[in-house]
Symmetry: C2
Subunit: 418 residues, 2 copies
């Protein structure tokens, strides 16, 4: 096989009944892509021997690297380890460093007695290479058969991430000569997918065959991704950079960032560069804007704080939204969000402020104010600007879209575009 | 084939490079499970003809229902529709109701001209049944071949959800006699997975063969799920209810809820029942607790609002955390969170309050205060209780775990367990 392909197999009934959302696959896929390994497919199967074996056999026909997650826990529904032991014809033996590590966790850290169930986690098939798991009790495992590498990782996300970075990626880099894949991603705002496609049609039609363009739309914000694959990494970089520069020109004023990053990261960087700060006054988003602004490291440099004024009483007492406003135009109004932005900025003494008030659903609408109506306000020392949006999603998605639009409006104020 | 199996195929390069997390599969899997259709596997493939065809052929061998999402947009990387047209031997024709609908969206709603790209979205293979998409511009499609039903849905989540509920589920119920699957799920807190397994070992060992137990751990909170499959739905319900009652007894004081719901939903219900309210004072979680408390409909009945005191100045000015506290024990301290909870409860005049202050990483630790150290406080009129945690995850996960532990501590205060 000339090119290196990987398959990801996630194991667990919870994935097939929709009880949990699989974030592990995305993490592994990113890690593999970054070292030039193309993921051929991702397969999710239940905690069933037949299903896992079928998935392994199918994957081994298509890929030379197979990464499994899940089913390594201490309970009876965790069948991956005995199954792999049988599949690769091994026998279970105690891995002493893992046993020492588990003992340390239970006896020294948790001050709890070790039980047989925990001790069993230190057992591994004698035909595997152990991937030592500093972050948890289930060791990772590597099996090799017919030139295919099989990695088995725990499904607990932070343990899976640790083992991917510490063991999987270095092992693959050491044993396979991977073919370069390069991605360049940018983010646009203000133009829907089809209009954006129209705007950049000439660019897209002139793209060379070895560079692919993908659209990732998200309510008025569209991410565009160029992907190049080839042999000569240096030449690839030159080619994709040339096309990416053209794409940036084609996108024009709708460009938000030429990196694969979210809106709030862009705004955070702008603020940090200017040594400026922002505060928030949130009604309908209930803290989600604050969460976005503070979820990345270093956000204390620009995010000062906020008022979550979920109840109208808090809008009045903490943000000076007058009873008059509440009784005439109401809490979901231009007047209310402008006052909220103005007040929180002054009271928290920040350079900028963002405010939102809206009807996220599933109820709360009136004759004049439909479900999904939301006012967003942004302020700096000189002015307050507000804008109304009419969203048409479910509650959670309305909250997410509102928060992103609010942060985009803040961005436009920071760069003097509104 | 006696039993009804489904395969879910998600299409899009973004799924294989880890750029987006697939939430669609979980939604579809839930919907299918709720009507007794077992999902056999989920397969994610790229925007490549070969990969999609291989996935379709593999799935058709294992399942009688195949649900595809993605690749139906208006841009060149969307290849699902022409591919299915060719695969099922059709020709593309205009679907007039869809064209009228798209025209209405662009001309009347968006006040934008229709372009050819949009018009093309109304074309469908003449061999499919159109699943009319009121929520967007890409119609869903249903193909039937050799007793297998192939559904093709857009990848945009709210459109996929609409079509699943409105068309996919009713069509399956009409054409297949599905075999009942029943799940019962409960949530525990306060005991790790292996200790919980030990506690309920007798229950688990005595479980009948047709009822399966699964553990879904999440940092000290473990969800337990019983699954029963069989023929006679009434008998199944009786059996699983009987076992579920035993499981509840076995779990004992660690039970949080006997429903498949999150911690914040439990707390919201407790507060609504008592007609009581809560406010929040968040430092390191930056609004995430407020978001959890307000993300579900009806939360304005119990969530009043909060202060996000990201900067220490806000802790002092809005929450009366004294300079003395900040300069001696610091912002991440029992004294600080207790004052924060007390102040926000009084100022927002709520029955309860919850507060957090911690070091979420990736930096900010000191010799005395390691990364992941977080103080959580909860207050009511009578008392303030606080607890320290030492987390060991990445920043985002630390934020999520902190918020969930804070809401759990609030729950324990509400039910007088602390």
């Amino acid at each position: 096989m000339n090119s290196i392909h990987a398959s990801i197999i996630t194991i667990g009934d919870e994935l097939l009944i929709g009880q949990v959302i699989d974030t592990n696959s995305a993490y592994i896929a990113q890690a593999l892509n970054s070292i030039g390994v193309a993921v051929k497919n991702r397969i999710a199967v239940g905690d069933s021997k037949d299903a896992i074996v079928t998935a392994l056999e199918t994957a081994a026909k298509q890929s030379n690297i197979i990464i499994m997650t899940g089913g390594l826990g201490p309970t009876a529904d965790d069948i991956t380890k005995p199954l792999l032991n049988e599949y690769f014809g091994g026998k279970l033996i105690v891995h002493q460093p893992t046993l020492d590590h588990i003992t340390d966790i239970f006896v020294n850290k948790h001050k709890r007695p070790m039980i047989e169930r925990n001790r069993k986690q230190a057992e591994v098939p004698d035909v595997c290479e152990v991937l030592f798991n500093e972050t948890g009790t289930a060791p990772g495992m590597l099996f090799k058969k017919d030139n295919v590498y099989y990695f088995s990782l725990p499904g607990v996300p932070h343990e899976m991430r640790f083992l991917t970075d510490k063991h999987v990626v270095p092992t693959i880099q050491q044993h396979f000569s991977t073919k370069p894949i390069i991605h360049r991603t940018l983010l646009t705002a203000g133009l829907g997918e089809s209009f954006l496609a129209e705007k950049i049609a000439d660019f897209e039609n002139a793209l060379p065959a070895d560079i692919k363009l993908a659209y990732l739309p998200n309510f008025g914000m569209v991410r565009l991704r160029l992907t190049a694959t080839g042999i000569d990494e240096n030449q690839l970089k030159i080619n994709i950079d040339e096309q990416f520069a053209k794409l940036i020109l084609a996108v024009g004023e709708y460009l938000v960032t030429d990196k694969d990053e979210n809106m709030e990261v862009v705004v955070g960087r702008l603020l940090k560069e200017k040594h400026q700060t922002v505060s928030t006054a949130e009604s309908c988003t209930g803290g989600y804007i604050g969460h976005l602004l503070s979820k990345h490291g270093g956000s204390s440099q620009f995010y000062t704080g906020g008022i979550i004024s979920y109840d109208n009483r808090i809008k009045t007492e903490f943000l000076d939204v007058s009873d008059d406003i509440l009784h005439t135009v109401g809490a979901v109004s231009q007047e209310a969000v402008e006052q909220m932005a103005k007040s929180v900025r002054e009271k928290m003494n920040t350079d900028y402020a963002v405010s939102v008030s809206g009807i996220m659903g599933p109820s709360g609408q009136t004759d004049e104010k439909p479900l999904g109506m939301v006012w967003i306000g942004v302020a700096n020392k000189e002015k307050v600007v507000s804008k109304v949006f009419y969203l048409r999603f479910d509650r959670l998605r309305n909250i997410e879209v509102t928060a992103n639009q609010a942060i985009n409006l803040l961005r436009l104020l920071i760069i003097n575009k509104i």
